[in-house]
Symmetry: C2
Subunit: 370 residues, 2 copies
């Protein structure tokens, strides 16, 4: 194998594919990036859960393949001057030259690198990268980290008449985002569940632009094609929560508030809550004002935040983290909070326009004196 | 105690004094900041090694004192709105109010806070804060972390005709910086050793300005007065290396190079050196070129850097870290490297002007094949 490639292009490709490389594995090839010089130069990282492959512009003098330690390969390329880098192999030994610098390091046999699963196309859709990116970032926080319900360690993707709906749940809260898609092939409506870890990578690969990403549903895998990069992930199998039934509708109490103001107030009162001193937030929704207080062994804190509407003095307890996560994610300056009783969930919605997001947080029972 | 203070001023004072607070102590008062409202508001942190006291502008309604957990106090003030904050105590309970926010937290009896040592003035000097700051930052890296020679875990401060000289040594390298001082009282020349940990804090407190800092030598302590802030540290006792005798003079080989270029080249070759694969750098000083190479179990690397002068093909081994630390610290675009033989130290000096810095790095024996 012999090829030359611009340092900057190669560095970008390494940083993308390295995200799917195992940091530590008993199989050395899994700690590496597969370089394949065919018609084009391809880099692949694959930790047996998520695989990322990207194509880089290169002058290929001799075809071939080799696996290089992702860490060492990345560091060498990063520290070389901004110039053309030439790679040439002699067996498993690779010579890396750039300007006056020269490295000889040992690679790994490409035969030891596992093959990426192939995705037989069934259903597919395309969407703006910026939309896919924001949908993931605004729902990923509610994915469960509890391995006893594996299906909820991923997000549900539902494609249908309304476009794409992404839903995450963890038993205490729910996050839902909806956006239009660009095109769809296959069935009229279909759905699948993608592991949260893979979505975290998809989010990073997507640009904040109106270039399209294509998502293909295979029998056991999902393929994301994002520009020159593809990411393949296994699907999670199992019964995802019937989320439509879980969201309370016709809530009697509806108030509105400034997202950032609500967040700052909760964050401040939360100062006296920590791992050793946990207490719920006591929220009292008054007429035009939300009073938030809490009390722990450290002391007590109270604060107020203006709202629009009358909460009829409804008193309800919340886990401060869950409320903050939802408000941080909400893509709106103002939100509507919908409540029913002190023991029913709080629903957070946009104050106007389409329902392109919905967050739900379950309440926590308040004890006297908290 | 009752006082009001601007949030921004208080936040600044907390961040300075918190640096001398024990992160974890069996005595809760040592994890706290002492607040004293007298004629002025004073904040003090003291971990029994280093003490920092600073004065803040405040409206004092009732005098008094209290110790507050540095972490909690800092977090509360940081998250309060940009406004006046009012503190009022009732016994050990303190009420903190700002805008609509209110906290009640328990403080600690100020009697439990240790007294700062008083420094009886013997000798003192003053220096621009920016000079003191750069002298510390450019020598601190060579302070020893080996507790078996406690005296070398600090830097030597020598005050005399030539101004201030600061020297750090750790047995493998030496760092020296020299600057003019503004004024001097007491003996004509005096010297003392300040612990590296205290100097790290002094460096951060000093502004990059021509405001003066005053340094006072006490019998057992050193006092740094920097604007509204004072830092007191114990002195290290013992026999500091006679550094003048250790620096070789009249070196036969003198070459010059670009500091950044030397650093980049060494950094690159060092890529294949790590904790598990240690090897010295093999440096060959040729005529107009420095060739650097190394070989470890990972592979081999070689690079070249242009120099001015002829090194007569002198071959010498170095610990890459030590060479890089010195070049990173050197306050000059170009440096002169002085060498004698492959087993004598390398001296790094400014290429022109006064000798305001001098670094020395001891060589490492090269084995065949390295």
């Amino acid at each position: 194998m012999k090829f030359s490639c611009e340092k900057a292009l190669l560095q970008g490709a390494i940083s993308i594919t390295a995200r799917a490389v195992s940091p530590k594995s008993s199989i050395p090839a899994l700690e590496g990036i597969l370089l394949e010089a065919g018609q084009q130069l391809q880099l692949t990282g694959y930790n047996l859960e998520t695989g990322i492959r990207t194509t880089v512009q290169a002058e290929i003098a001799q075809q071939g393949a080799l696996v290089l330690s992702a860490r060492l390969f990345g560091e060498i390329v990063r520290k070389l001057p901004d110039d053309m880098i030439t790679f040439s192999t002699d067996g498993l030994m690779v010579n890396i030259k750039c300007g006056l610098s020269e490295f000889n390091i040992m690679g790994i046999d490409p035969e030891e690198f596992p093959e990426l699963p192939s995705v037989n196309q069934e259903n597919a859709f395309s969407i703006f990268q910026k939309d896919l990116k924001s949908m993931i970032s605004q729902t990923l926080f509610a994915v469960s980290d509890n391995e006893s319900r594996p299906i909820h360690t991923g997000s549900l993707f539902e494609v249908g008449e309304n476009g794409l709906t992404v839903v995450s749940v963890d038993g205490y809260r729910l996050a839902l985002r909806r956006e239009a898609i660009r095109s769809r092939t296959g069935e009229n409506s279909f759905s699948f569940v993608v592991p949260g870890s893979a979505l975290g990578e998809v989010e990073k690969i997507c640009a904040d632009s109106e270039e399209e990403a294509t998502v293909t549903q295979g029998a056991r895998h999902i393929l994301f094609q994002i520009g020159q990069t593809m990411l393949v992930s296994r699907r999670l199998e199992g019964e995802f929560l019937n989320y439509r039934q879980s969201i309370p509708r016709n809530n009697a109490i509806k108030v509105e508030g400034d997202t950032k103001e609500l967040l700052t107030t909760i964050d401040r009162v939360s100062l006296i809550i920590n791992e050793n001193n946990k207490s719920p937030l006591r929220c009292v929704f008054g007429d035009g004002v939300l009073r938030i207080s809490t009390k722990t062994a450290i002391g007590d804190a109270q604060d107020r935040c203006p709202i629009t509407g009358d909460g009829k003095e409804l008193e309800i307890g919340f886990n401060n983290r869950y409320l903050m996560d939802a408000l941080k994610a909400a893509p709106a300056q103002r939100v509507r909070l919908e409540l029913q009783t002190g023991v029913s969930p709080c629903v957070i919605l946009p104050t106007e326009g389409e329902e392109n997001f919905l967050y739900m947080v379950l309440p926590v029972r308040l004890k006297a004196g908290e």
